[in-house]
Symmetry: C2
Subunit: 442 residues, 2 copies
């Protein structure tokens, strides 16, 4: 107990390290929480990551946790929650004027599971309106505040990418977890569709909505997968020797920018040099229809999702949601059924293709975070969301401007834990090739 | 205004008739609400359909509606809500001790849409625990209180089947809308999957959960489809001449009892005699795997759905939910993926098959409502739920004991309104063949 970890050091630990330190008695939850709250406060004027934080309530809970025997894998670990996910003790506002100050009074399933593992829910993070469209989040990029953090899980990605908190929950319907992770230099996991309950998280598209998380390392992502009971931990390969990696440009390759293309090529060289068996994967022609299918499903399911708000609060609903409800694009039932059926066929086919590799690597975003405002393009993420496959973002590369460029590691449905194990050795190879400090959070 | 409808007469109107009467000034919402509350109170000791009713609050709202210009299709029409669907002004308890007295503080999407159409939310109805498993509803059958009303939408089906209220919301994950409708002699509609938002309704299985409703006529079901913005109203065929009906025994035919088999054969004769072109449909061999696929999906998705309650409230969670979370049946990821993919293939195939008919008719339940307690078997409903197709229950037939026997009218995904139009003429043919008063609500 004499070698206690101080507040500043605590905030540089990964979630996995901090949990071990708390379990060993070298760290207490209050110290860690105070460190996070300090960093959050110091950066909030610039980054605007937070929709709601009650520091006094956080510290009270941290002290409670310090007086409670450790009861879970996340005992005392701060976790930020995207503000489209219900929390019993904080408002959930969806960045919508309809829900200003709304207090749902119960935790979403995914939040209750975190609390049952001992997590300290530290605050709510900024989001695109309903994690969908309409109002942009105000959040700036932690690596360059002139740039966006990406949408829709903007605050969660920025808070983790900035080193304010070790873990955060987000959601993905298009590219809302992985794209901001790429922009903000955070590790992220979108698990297989359906693996985590969406009870109490705002619905946009039943077929697409997925709960996921941000962390400071692949081990952090794996820790969260364990908390949510997804599969079983898998041993990481001892090295990349013989590990079969497919580099997949995806049908959205045309959306990539030169910085990402260069980084993608460099990443292929890094993994090849490290001993991996690297091949190039081109998806069958049918997959080129998935982006359009994604949009039909998104807009048509969004029609059902926002009907009640349209009917009851039309004046306060952004026109982009009225667009969905009025089906202004005129997507027919036939088009929707065709989209469902194409997606289903491609899921089966992708699983078969992906089973020939240990991991598939593909870009997480078109390029570095854009300047200005907005959410950025989800083009590189849409098809993986629709395929329901697990996606892990590694903050592997940098642009010439020094901004993070993420790579997605993906594979068949429900290969989450095997992929996470494989991603550990990929991540090590990327870190070994980076200049000192690069790719690490502040 | 002199020809005003009295309380007793009002409660015998269908929702469609009552809405027209309110719109014309011949009826007011308070009179109708008082009539419903009287019937509910008179029968509750025997039937136990209600989880929560606040008569004074209902009457206050009815008077408010009477003082408001009519603003929607359901102005002043009482609608009962299954107690797994959130209501802002009433508890939502899921028939679970974990949620006794729980007040979510916001309406589910499907409830807010009803209120925006002017509906009077009259109370919450009894349900199987979480509309899933565990605790049975206490509800008795309105046609014979020694018999069950079926699960899980027990209270909604019984309240409508007993003539207490004209409309009610329910949910179906296995056979939870259509089976109780068959047992209780109610009209019911399970729309195409995804057509109605499930925001704020308890999640069991993302792939299967569907919001639906009960009414007193096919026109009532169609009115609700209009309120939820599902497709466009379709003209009913002038007669059954040339209407192509397929009688489908479904792969679960072995579960049917003699009374249903006889009724099914009699129904085929009635429609044939009425001029329909009736053929027999046997589904391809692949469809015989759908019931097993349903169970794998249900149990595995239920694992994610109940994880948080298992972790946070294990002692209060019925063992059948612990069973799901612990995956005691050992359903593998591979089995789950195979189930998803089989269902997807069969959806495409069924749509193609069904497009050759105006309607497909299949049993709504194995037979009449069983004696005793329990929910009854969903065997006849599972595959249609998994296929995501619209299902309409017609209380078309009677058992030798005089109990209702329902028939399901189904067709391709998103054919809801066309099916409802067709169901109107089927229903007329069945009504014409029934002894006086049979198949009509009390």
């Amino acid at each position: 107990m004499s070698d206690r970890i101080d507040r500043d050091t605590a905030t540089r630990l990964t979630a996995t390290e901090a949990a071990a330190a708390i379990a060993s008695g070298a760290l207490d939850a209050e110290t860690l929480a105070r460190g996070c709250l300090d960093k959050m406060a110091a950066r909030e004027d610039v980054l605007k990551a937070w929709a709601y934080v009650d520091p006094a309530a956080v510290l009270r809970q941290a002290r409670e946790l310090d007086q409670t025997p450790s009861f879970g894998l996340l005992h005392g670990i701060p976790v930020a929650i995207k503000d489209v996910i219900d929390t019993r003790d904080m408002p959930t506002c969806h960045n919508s004027p309809i829900f200003f100050g709304h207090r749902p009074g119960a935790d979403a399933g995914c939040v209750e599971t975190l609390r049952a593992a001992g997590a300290l829910i530290i605050g709510k993070t900024e989001t695109t309106e309903f994690a969908a469209a309409g109002r942009h989040p105000p959040t700036r990029n932690p690596h360059d505040p002139r740039r966006i953090s990406g949408g829709s899980s903007a605050g969660s990605a920025a808070a983790v990418g900035d080193g304010q908190v070790p873990l955060a929950l987000g959601t993905q319907t298009g590219g809302s977890l992985i794209r901001p992770a790429s922009f903000c230099g955070a590790y992220a996991c979108k698990p297989t569709w359906g693996a985590v309950s969406r009870e109490g998280a705002r619905v946009y598209s039943i077929t697409l909505d997925t709960i996921g998380w941000y962390g400071r390392s692949v081990a952090d992502l794996d820790l969260m997968a364990e908390v949510y009971g997804i599969g079983r931990a898998q041993p990481a390969p001892a090295s990349l020797d013989g590990v079969r990696i497919a580099f997949c440009r995806s049908p959205a390759w045309a959306a990539t920018e030169p910085a990402m293309r260069d980084a993608f090529a460099a990443a292929e060289r890094i993994l090849t040099d490290a001993g991996a068996t690297v091949t190039t994967l081109e998806l069958p022609e049918a997959f080129s229809g998935l982006a359009a299918a994604h949009q039909v499903i998104l807009f048509r399911e969004g029609r059902a999702a926002f009907l009640n708000l349209y009917r009851a609060h039309k004046d306060l609903l952004h026109d982009e949601f009225r667009h969905r409800v009025e089906n202004r694009d005129g997507f027919t039932d036939q088009a929707l059924v065709a989209a469902y059926d194409l997606a289903a066929r491609c899921r089966t086919e992708f699983d078969a293709i992906a089973s020939g590799f240990d991991a598939i690597v593909t870009p997480s975003a078109p390029g570095e975070a854009p300047m200005g405002i907005g959410g950025g393009s989800p083009a590189l993420n849409l098809i993986w969301t629709l395929l329901h496959v697990p996606c892990i973002n590694l903050p592997a590369m940098r642009s010439p401007a020094g901004m993070p460029l993420g790579l997605t590691v993906t594979g068949p449905r429900f290969s989450d834990r095997r992929l996470l194990a494989c991603a550990k050795v990929l991540d090590q190879a990327f870190i070994a090739k980076q200049p000192q400090g690069q790719g690490k959070v502040a």
